[in-house]
């Protein structure tokens, strides 16, 4: 086997894992802290991508600069969606949550289709898009590297927030026992609001990066919703720390198959979901 190719596959996989982790960790926050099954999560990602695209086209903003505008915008959008709908289904059965968030997903996706049309859009003109490095025969693009670093920093920052800060402690308390948390004086509804808005913000930042890496269409969100769900479930519900490892595992396998197997690029999704399927089945057998 060609070792350089193997190393290339590994490196590309690790770099791709950052974005997966960033999007999934937001969803894990929504599921773990708030307990809401959010099938519209990927739409925040999509909205982030298209806001960055619009800022680039109309005002010439560099995507890095747009982050400063897109992140707060997504925080507000997330907060508004929480206040207008999510908070009313917190204690509803999960099927109702699924129907509600499917509805939200359809609304957001079709709004975007109405505004931007169905063609792929991308921020292609930034000078660093084509910059890459060669290290021992392995090529590393600046953009994937940058997106990996930003994602990793944000995910670790979220971990630190949950572990150290007062807000993070409040979130963990609410996740463990909402009644207990409210008994000791935590404002549960406000913590949910912040957690949900934060989850939208993280997905939105991921979206800005996908607009530079690929050429997304308004339907990109749902595919990411499904993948994020799979990663969250792979890590185990409520296990926010496991997200990083789960993302790494699926992204690296995906990338290895794409680089090593002939015609493997078409198999990416199959590999991704095959791993999830096997792990879920195997785990259920072991615990039974």
């Amino acid at each position: 086997m060609d070792l350089t190719l193997l190393a290339q596959g590994l490196v590309s996989g690790v770099l791709a894992a950052g974005l997966y982790a960033l999007v999934s960790v937001g969803l894990a926050l929504a599921i773990g802290v708030i307990g809401v099954i959010n099938f519209a999560h990927g739409e925040f990602f999509m909205v982030g991508a298209f806001l960055a695209y619009q800022l680039y086209v109309s005002l010439g903003f560099d995507p890095l600069l747009s982050l400063l505008f897109v992140a707060p915008a997504l925080f507000v959008i997330g907060a508004l969606i929480y206040l207008s709908s999510i908070r009313y289904v917190l204690r509803a059965p999960e099927l109702n949550q699924m129907l509600l968030t499917f509805g939200l997903s359809i609304v957001l996706q079709n709004l975007a289709l109405l505004i931007w049309g169905g063609d792929p859009r991308s921020i292609s003109g930034v000078p660093y898009r084509s910059v890459g490095y060669q290290v021992a025969g392995i090529s590393i693009g600046l953009v994937p590297l940058g997106s990996f670093v930003i994602s990793l920093v944000l995910v670790l920052a979220l971990y630190a927030l949950l572990a150290r800060s007062k807000l993070g402690r409040a979130m963990r308390a609410v996740a463990q026992n909402r009644i207990g948390a409210s008994l000791v004086g935590l404002e549960v509804d406000r913590i949910y609001l912040v957690a949900f808005a934060l989850s939208a913000l993280l997905a939105g930042i991921g979206g800005v990066m996908i607009a530079v890496i690929q050429s997304p269409t308004p339907t990109v969100g749902f595919a990411f919703t499904l993948k994020a769900f799979a990663i969250v479930v792979l890590a185990g519900l409520g296990n926010i720390r496991g997200i990083l490892w789960a993302s790494l595992a699926v992204a690296v396998s995906e990338s290895l198959v794409a680089t090593l197997v002939p015609n493997g690029d078409a198999l990416r999704n199959a590999v991704f979901f095959a791993i999830i399927f096997i792990v879920l089945i195997a785990r259920a057998r072991r615990t039974a």
Binding site: A230, V233, A270
Partner: protein, 350 residues
Amino acid sequence: MRRALPDLLWTLLLAVVVALAPGALKGLFHQASVSYLSLASNAMSLAVLALSWDLLARTGQLSLAHAAFYGAGGYAAAVLAKLSGVPLFLALPLGGAVAALLALGLGSVTLRLRGIYFAIATLAFAEVLKALVQELPTGIAGGAAGLNVPPLFRPHFVPGAMQRWEIAYLRNADYFYVYGGLLLLAILVSVVVQRTRLRAAFTAVRTNEAVAAVMGVRPARAKLLAFVLSSALVGMLGALEAERLGSVIPDGTFAISTTVFALVTPIFGGLYTTLGPILGAGVLSAIEETLKRTFAEGYLIGYGLVLVASVLFMPRGLVGLANRLRRRRGPPPAGGAGTEAGLAGDGEGR
């Protein structure tokens, strides 16, 4: 089974309506009846999809694999038509059988998974199956380009005796009958489940599997039975749709939207009932068609808003809303609507 009598009478009534509808529509609307019949077939297709999903959900299994069984049925029909000259009608039972076998396999490995874990495992199964079908040698399943499927009906034009549009009418009317037949079959299966001891078994498994097992229900058996029944219906539907659309293609025949509609419709209509999914399919189809005609572009925004509003304002679906209204008017008839509403709601609260 005596309790099933009213349901069976309603089903009989529906059968009569299905039998008479094409003729009546033609008499009333002439050429426009062609598209009405096609719309009605779409609605009935959605109803079969929704009812079959609900059948499975009654055991607490929230499947995201309906697209897989639908696609398996469609591909079974396509491959059968390609390999042999057998009558195309046979594609329906074949599609159902292929889907049922797949469900038996999938169902037996996912028995221990619950809630969202089950949902994601079934979703993963569907995505892998789609990719596998796409990667099969083109000689078998046509690869990414898919396969053509010959139509089930080819009415002949008789010059002088009929007008041009009447060919389309005849074809749509024939399909309408088959969709109607499939819907009636799905309703019968659902009624049998609801009016025999199976209902108690399914409900018990959904509400609390451990307690169900203690009470003498075999959870594994109940779950697999529901899975097989549900998938057989969807597989037949997939085969029929492939013949109506004229082709199968991985991205379309295995599209995740099939799964989404399969679960959205019964929740909208009212879960764990026979009426809910059918009502949901009718109302959602009508809403979608009206929106499409009113706002050509972006009409799905309205559709999404309807779904959001439905969760907020009628958490138990159309059937739940109807029960609530009926109860507000006066006391429920003893043992009738009251128990129905109670059972429709149980187990929802996890």
